[in-house]
């Protein structure tokens, strides 16, 4: 080290310009002291959010594995012929939401001279996905479906890709009741990504009923002969999360399964409401223990 350098180092700031050096040193020192806590805090927050979002995305349901025609047919057969023993074993205990009774003076809703049930939903809607399982089981006790399909709720909404049935394109045959199932949208977004692609259209009468009892426009919407109305699903879709159609259909046969407890309890309540429209027909259905429990749930709501 030269003597000049040594002198410079020893002299320190005093050897520099009296104003410039202290300011520069202060800025550098303060930046180190003042910046770090804030940057660490920001970094910690970003890391926490990244971990949460990453974990959430990682755990989203995978693309559903749609069964072939035979598999789909087997699922629909299982759902439309759930054993009465399973329905009776579940009863209506623990049902989350029951339809609301409308005033007795409300004009009856009929189609083709038969008391009618109107369902409005959409394929993207996970709550509709849950509701369809129970509604299909309930309706199948009064008639039969043609053209029921399988679909899933939106893969990008909550309860993503919940496996379910679709009423789009289906017809319901019954001597006792009429049923209109309207799926207003698919589970596919439009090109702009702003809304789901439209599917079925409500008739003017259906639109009027939908708005009359459901000003917020929420779906699923269920109107049972102008006697009962339900806006929203009867139970949460979480019980169906991650399950294939086959697994759900199979679980419905087992009254001890969580799926059956939720779906069949709701189906019994819906059945009880429909039995009021049919004056208790068919008797073997409407007087069954499960449906009687459903009637009690309606009466106590």
């Amino acid at each position: 080290m030269t003597s000049r350098t040594a002198q410079k180092k020893k002299a320190g700031p005093a050897g520099r310009h009296p104003k410039a050096k202290p300011k520069a040193r202060k800025r550098k020192g303060t930046q180190r002291r003042g910046r770090s806590p804030g940057l660490y805090a920001i970094g910690a927050v970003v890391a926490i959010v990244a971990v949460m979002v990453g974990y959430g995305v990682f755990n989203r349901a995978k693309t559903p594995d749609t069964p072939n025609a035979t598999g789909a047919s087997a699922v629909i057969d299982d759902v439309t012929s759930v054993p009465a023993s399973a329905l009776n074993a579940v009863g209506a205990d623990g049902v989350e939401t029951v339809p609301t009774a409308l005033p007795p003076s409300t004009a009856a809703y009929e189609v083709d001279g038969k008391p009618a049930i109107l369902y409005v939903g959409a394929e993207y809607c996970p709550y509709c996905a849950a509701e369809r399982w129970a509604l299909t089981i309930a309706l199948s006790r009064f008639g039969s479906f043609d053209g029921l399909g399988l679909t899933t709720s939106s893969s990008t909404d909550i309860y993503p890709s919940t496996r379910t049935l679709s009423f789009h394109g289906s017809t319901f045959h019954s001597d006792l009741i009429a049923f209109d199932g309207v799926e207003t949208a698919t589970n596919e977004l439009n090109a702009a990504g702003t809304s789901y692609q439209p599917l079925d259209t409500l008739t003017p009468e259906q639109q009027q009923l939908f708005q009359a009892y459901n000003s917020s426009g929420s779906i699923p919407f269920l109107l049972i002969g102008n006697r009962y109305v339900l806006s929203g699903s009867s139970f949460l879709p979480d019980v169906l999360q991650g399950k294939s159609w086959q697994e759900i259909a199979s679980a419905l046969q087992d009254p001890t399964s969580d799926v059956a407890k939720e779906v069949l309890a709701s189906a019994n309540v819906m059945t009880a409401a429909i039995c009021e429209l049919t004056d208790g027909e068919p008797a073997n259905v409407c007087t069954s223990p499960g449906v009687q429990q459903g009637a009690n749930a309606l009466a106590n709501a």
């Binding site: 303060t30 805090a41 927050v45 949460m52 809607c125 996970p126 709550y127 909404d157 789901y196």
Partner: protein, 147 residues
Amino acid sequence: MRERPSWLGAATLVLALAGVGVSAYLTYAHYASSTILACSGSGLVDCERVTTSAQSAVAGIPVAVLGLVWFVATAALVSPPAWRSRAPWVRWTRLADVGVGMAMVLWLIYAELFVIRAICLWCTVVHVIVFALFVLVMLYGWEETEG
């Protein structure tokens, strides 16, 4: 000392006031919405489910109301006069304020993703505003006002 940009006071105040507006709307939505277990007509997001969830209130006080109160207090703390203040308690209160706000937002994001499993777009707007305030205060709010 890290110099505070001239726009800091105005930017943070605008953010806080935007937060007041959005949280006021969410407060209205909290009390106006009663339907649960339903999809909105357009799908995609489900604010109603979030604003009517069990996590939408803390100790009986709606989170939206807490947010509104927080944004009003924060607007005062990040106003240009507050940024010019040399009182240490203003600086530390501001730092603590954004820290508490950010912690609350982290908890709410957790609740949305893993408990409610629904995302509310308006809530997300609030979260972004809180994060922006947090970043600005953390970057420029540690040292006394240079003068």
